[in-house]
Amino acid sequence: MTGENRILSATGTGLRYVILAAGAFIMVFPFLWMINASLMTAGEIQLRPPVWLPSEPQFSNYTDLLATLPIARLYFNSLFTSGVIVLGVLFTSSIAGFAFAKYRFPGRELLFYLILATMMIPFFVTLIPVFFIVRQLGWIDSYQGLIIPGLTSAYGIFLMRQFMFTVPDELIDAARIDGASEPIIYWRIVIPLIKPALATLGTFTFIGSWNNFLWPLLVVNNRELMTLPLGINSLRSLYSDNTNLLMAGTAVSVIPMLAVFIFLQRYFIKGIALTGLKG
């Protein structure tokens, strides 16, 4: 390598870091500003030139927020709803995926095509009828209404079926010879072998459900049943002048999820790359 080339490649490397850092700054800035603004007075946020740190952190913003919004309740509702939906999706997807991958039965192809077709249907096409069904069942303002329509996922069944092909038939046959019943085979043999796939599907289902806004917006009017996104939404009109409190509310709902992500980022990203390319 000539000296000139070396200089060129060094500037190239330098430039790469500059671009990456500029991009990362744009990515991080809104979060930092949210935290910053959540600790300022309402007037400080609007100053020009901007103040980059609160002159005196206003922790009272958070106590004010707690007085208006039942944060613990919102967390419970979001966790409970998303948790039950994740368990439901993992169970229904894995058991149906298992049946489609490992059994031969009349109508299997037909039923599987039905599931593939369902996978193509976007949520907005079924929104009105599902809302109508839930209302007819008297499930408006109830956990059933929030949870039950989300308990099955055609995509989940499809994904699980693909992973089930990696479970060796010999293992299943050996268990059968030992006298294990089919549900025992599913529970004791198959489930432990597809744990990584379950973790991936569970993670995506959880994020989707946790961040879901439109469905809870339709089903929930009662403040006691609000999930976190509904809580932030209710703050929008309440605090249109107190952006510091609005930002405190957003921070409270967003930061714990980010912390979990930073801890588990390796699994998140591996899962994305895995299903993204398979799906």
């Binding site: 907005f124 089919e182 994305i272």
Partner: protein
């Protein structure tokens, strides 16, 4: 095998009740006039009136279709170019790859509603920090989300901000799946960096590109949360999107028939675009 039927019965039943049944019902409703309060048996038949009205006499629907297309084209274009660009950067010899990835990925897992609220504050016309910074450099205040010309581009920016990290991760996985031997062979043949990209990276990335373009288009055409919580379709319907208009039609104005017809029109468009994209990107793969 009895057990197989037992295993698939509950999931299939749930999909029948909450997806397949509803789509048929939705199609039926789209041929009627219905406010959801009157009994289903009594809803008056309207044939294709809802579709005809939407496609010929409803300027807001046309506007929302146009906005939705622009939103999708801008977002998918930017996500594909930036996603691939940053993936290439991260795939080169770079330190701290994990840290970069975490930073770029953080918005992906954040609720769209929370980001919408954050950006409405940041881009506020009068008090937003972005305006407070640019006016320091002598530039005029920008309306951003409250300007008819700027609102949609600002929404595209927020959407790209949210999802580009996801596409970086996907492209990065695709790049890492390309065997190093190809590049070694190309170097022996004296290929430059650009030629390597043009004749090895791009062709071998086509399946990943297909995945990115198709899933991103399908998602972008259904945008709701972001628009609902920033502009609500304003100013002057310049950011009205199809799903938001459908939501308003159904749940504010109780016109279930017309809203269902909107849903079917958008569904048909999504299917059509998906098929075209798959054809286009796949055919090129075979040529190579």
């Amino acid at each position: 095998m009895i057990w197989a039927y037992a295993f698939v019965s509950a999931p299939i039943l749930a999909l029948l009740v909450f997806t397949l049944g509803p789509i048929l019902f939705s199609g039926w409703v789209s041929l009627h006039r219905w406010d959801m309060l009157s009994p289903v048996e009594t809803m008056p038949w309207r044939g294709l009136d809802n579709y005809v009205f939407l496609l010929t006499q409803d300027p807001i629907f046309m506007r929302s279709l146009g906005n939705t297309f622009l939103f999708a084209i801008g977002g998918v274009g930017a996500n594909t170019i930036l996603g691939l660009g940053f993936a290439l950067l991260l795939n080169s010899r770079i330190r701290g790859r994990t840290l970069w990835r975490v930073l770029y990925f953080a918005p992906v897992i954040t609720a769209p509603l929370a980001l919408a609220v954050m950006f409405s504050v940041i881009f506020d016309r009068n008090y937003g920090v972005v305006n407070n910074v640019i006016t320091m450099f002598g530039l005029p205040r920008q309306p951003f989300l409250s300007g008819p010309g700027q609102a949609l581009p600002t929404l595209i920016f927020i959407a790209v901000y949210q999802y580009v990290g996801y596409y970086i991760v996907i492209f990065l996985a695709g790049l890492q799946g390309i065997p190093q031997d190809y590049y070694d062979a190309a170097q022996v043949d004296g290929a430059g960096k650009f030629q390597e990209f043009r004749y090895i990276t791009l062709p071998l990335l086509r399946p990943v590109m297909l995945f990115v373009v198709v899933t991103n288009t399908i998602g972008a055409l259904q945008v709701f949360d972001l628009v609902f919580a920033t502009t609500g379709g304003a100013p002057a319907n310049s950011t009205m999107t199809v799903v938001l208009y459908m939501y308003n039609t159904a749940f504010k104005f109780s016109r279930m028939g017309r809203a269902s017809a909107m849903a079917f029109i958008l569904f048909a468009i999504i299917l059509f675009i998906t098929i075209v994209q798959i054809r286009f990107l796949r055919d090129r793969t075979y040529q190579d």
